[in-house]
């Protein structure tokens, strides 16, 4: 199950930067304007965009979790032994360019919810959050629904054998 929006276009750089603009001394740059000037550059790490996307995705009703089955399973194991990274980052891949960002997202959806509606809301919310916080233009949000969650799916913890 996959939902795709528009062609991927951002210039891949990893770090958002650009050669100095000789003429601009303005310190206020907004929206799609360059992240660099002779005064210095502004860099937004990929991890920042990833975290914003992750938080924005979880704000959408009907999204139960992020990540594929393997990612969630491995994340659970690594967390249980105390070496796990940030679990909120799983299921999110971003490409960040100088002015644009593209997002790939894998989600688990609650059974009974409209997947097209969730995908639409995800795109809107992620685009609004990323563009609002970073000034990058989101060119693409690809949503892959890889599982359904049924209420009551959680495995009940076994009662402790000793107190």
């Amino acid at each position: 199950m996959s939902e795709t929006q528009s062609p991927r276009t951002p210039a891949r750089s990893g770090a958002a930067s650009e050669p100095a603009e000789a003429s601009s001394k303005a310190t206020s740059r907004r929206g799609n304007e360059p992240l660099s000037s002779e005064l210095g550059s502004t860099t937004i790490a990929d991890a920042v965009v990833t975290k914003i996307v992750s938080i924005a995705a979880r704000e959408v009703r009907g999204v139960y979790d992020l990540g594929g089955g393997a990612a969630r399973a491995i994340g659970g194991v690594t967390r249980s032994v105390g070496i796990g990274g940030d679990e909120r980052m799983q299921g999110v891949a971003v490409e960040v360019g100088e002015r644009e960002a593209a997002v790939d997202l894998t989600v688990v959806v609650e059974y009974g919810e409209s997947i097209p509606q969730i995908a639409k809301t995800l795109r809107e919310n992620i685009t609004r959050r990323v563009e609002g916080m970073t000034g990058l233009t989101v060119t693409e949000v690809n949503v892959a629904v890889n599982d359904l969650y049924f209420p009551g799916d959680e495995t009940a913890a076994e009662p402790a054998r000793v107190e």
Binding site: T27, R30, G40, I44, G132
Partner: protein, 121 residues
């Protein structure tokens, strides 16, 4: 020894160290900045004369000025205005300290964002 404020840097210290301390203090005083990030290996820092300023890198430009890079952790706010505010505050505080002619470009790198309730490692 880590430096927490410019007051801990003696006036006789190197310009590089003084600029780094000023930049660190200016960034931390900017609303929306939760902290500075020295990186996993702790290499994003400026060290001189037994003192260390974490999260700020000062690189000599060869003309007597220093390019200052501030690596920060931000709150969930608009990041580009925040970076501009940090840059402006660094420039202002450096000018007040009489080092404006030694300051080159001020680069701002947002390394992480956190909700205010998240604990810093």
């Amino acid at each position: 020894m880590p430096v927490c404020s410019p007051a801990e840097v003696p006036a006789s210290a190197s310009v590089r160290l003084r600029l780094a301390a000023l930049a660190r203090a200016a960034a931390l005083a900017t609303g929306g900045v939760l902290g500075l990030d020295a990186g996993r290996a702790g290499m994003r820092m400026t060290a001189s004369e037994g003192l260390r300023v974490d999260g700020v890198v000062c690189a000599a430009l060869g003309d007597g000025r220093y390019q200052v890079s501030v690596h920060l952790v931000a709150a969930m706010v608009s990041l580009r205005p925040l970076a501009d505010a940090v840059r402006a505050r660094v420039e202002r505080d450096v000018a007040i300290a009489g080092l404006a002619d030694r300051l080159g470009p001020v680069d701002v790198a947002v390394e992480d964002v956190q909700a205010r309730t998240e604990a810093r490692p």
